[in-house]
């Protein structure tokens, strides 16, 4: 069973994602901020991360850049209320950028697409 880490500070949405994605057959761990996410990542392997950007403490973009420097292969979806962060090229560290809407269809479809994809390993940066 594939494991998903959901990083979302809005409690209602966190609950929604956990329920819906469990329904879809994934094992979901939901955390409320970036610090908790890093802790969770240190403890177990996940097959996909979904993260918000605006959160108390470290923001989602920082989280993504941190995660990838240690686990370069993990698929990441940015899921945010903000359209404007698309201008920030640091978001390219993620594999998808979804703007929150009232339907979860787009998110579910992206998860399916990315979680099944064989990973193209990113090469280590030549020193």
């Amino acid at each position: 069973m594939k494991k998903i880490l959901v990083v979302e500070d809005e409690k209602a949405l966190s609950l929604l994602y956990k329920e819906e994605l469990t329904e879809e057959g994934y094992k979901v761990t939901a955390v409320l901020d970036a610090e908790a996410a890093l802790e969770a990542l240190a403890k177990e392997r996940f097959d996909l991360i979904i993260t918000d950007i605006r959160m108390p403490g470290k923001n989602g973009i920082d989280l993504v850049t941190r995660v990838l420097s240690r686990q370069p292969d993990i698929p990441i979806i940015i899921n945010t209320a903000y359209q404007s962060y698309k201008n920030d090229f640091k978001t390219w560290a993620a594999d998808a950028y979804i703007v929150k809407s009232s339907s979860l269809e787009e998110l579910k479809a992206k998860i399916k697409e990315l979680i099944e994809k064989p990973h193209v390993p990113t090469q280590k940066r030549p020193d």
């Binding site: 370069p72 698309k86 920030d88 940066r125």
Partner: protein
Amino acid sequence: MSQLRKDLISGRWVIIASERSKRPDDFRGAGEARTETADSFCPFCAGNESKTPPEVYALRREGTQPDQDGWSVRVVPNKFPALDRGEKTQRRQEGIFESMSGVGVHEVVIETPDHGLELSDVPLPHLRDVLETVRSRIISIEQEKQYQYVQVFKNKGRAAGASLSHPHSQIIATPIIPKRIKEELYSAERLFKKYQGCIFCRIIGQEMGLRQRIVYSDRHFCVLAPFASRFPFEMQVFPLRHSAHLADMTPEETESLAATLKSVLSKIKGLLSDPPYNLVLHQAPNPSLVQGDWPGMSKDYHWHMEIMPVLARVAGFELGTGFYINPVPPEAAAGFLLG
């Protein structure tokens, strides 16, 4: 003693205020400590090609594959386009060129595989390659008549609007001509009629004669601090040969432009303490446009680049629309940069 100066082409008024002589320390860049540590992941770096969309162009070593390591300059489309209305845009594949019809084109030119190597620091041939790349993309994009205008710009440093510190530029093609370019075109047309010739050529001739505001010149290009500079150390890079389009550069001119930019950007970096800056290409619209709109544009308009450093202690500011105060006279800026 303050001077009121009017920019001929834009019609802008600038107050050049030089109340007191500036100390060199005043000209430090609004620099920031490198925000990204070695611990940070960068999607533009070599090795991370899988994090970018498939490349539309690249200069790479013999035998290396697209979207793999081995490139020296690489162009990719915007991964998360803002104008994504969810409609399926048409994609067309022409060999290694990929273009999208519909909304517009937004590409990122990743200038070097090395995160820390600035455009001013790369070897001359590499800089020439970057310019060649830009030229090639412009030509390719302009084959689509619907793209009336191609914008090329580079932001370096957070204060100048760069979201990532890995050196890069952007190319945006739009189906309409941006307002400020239209205004420049109108102006150029009007002034051509008034002065019976390209106004830019005239300005270049005058400045080269006076040599008060020239920062650099060689066989094919000159760099000057504009008479009515809005911002401290604002600079313009002009080809000496009249031309409305960057794409028309000869290989010799491209070499020359590389040397020019390397010289000027290095000077800025060294003398102004590595400031953030914006570099913008001003050129005429797509030549394959229906000639009706801008019949005289190849005569009236003269392509150039504008360089605007963002400094910490001295700044120009805008009082109202089209009215500025600049505390560093362009003559002083030119003098300072000449050393």
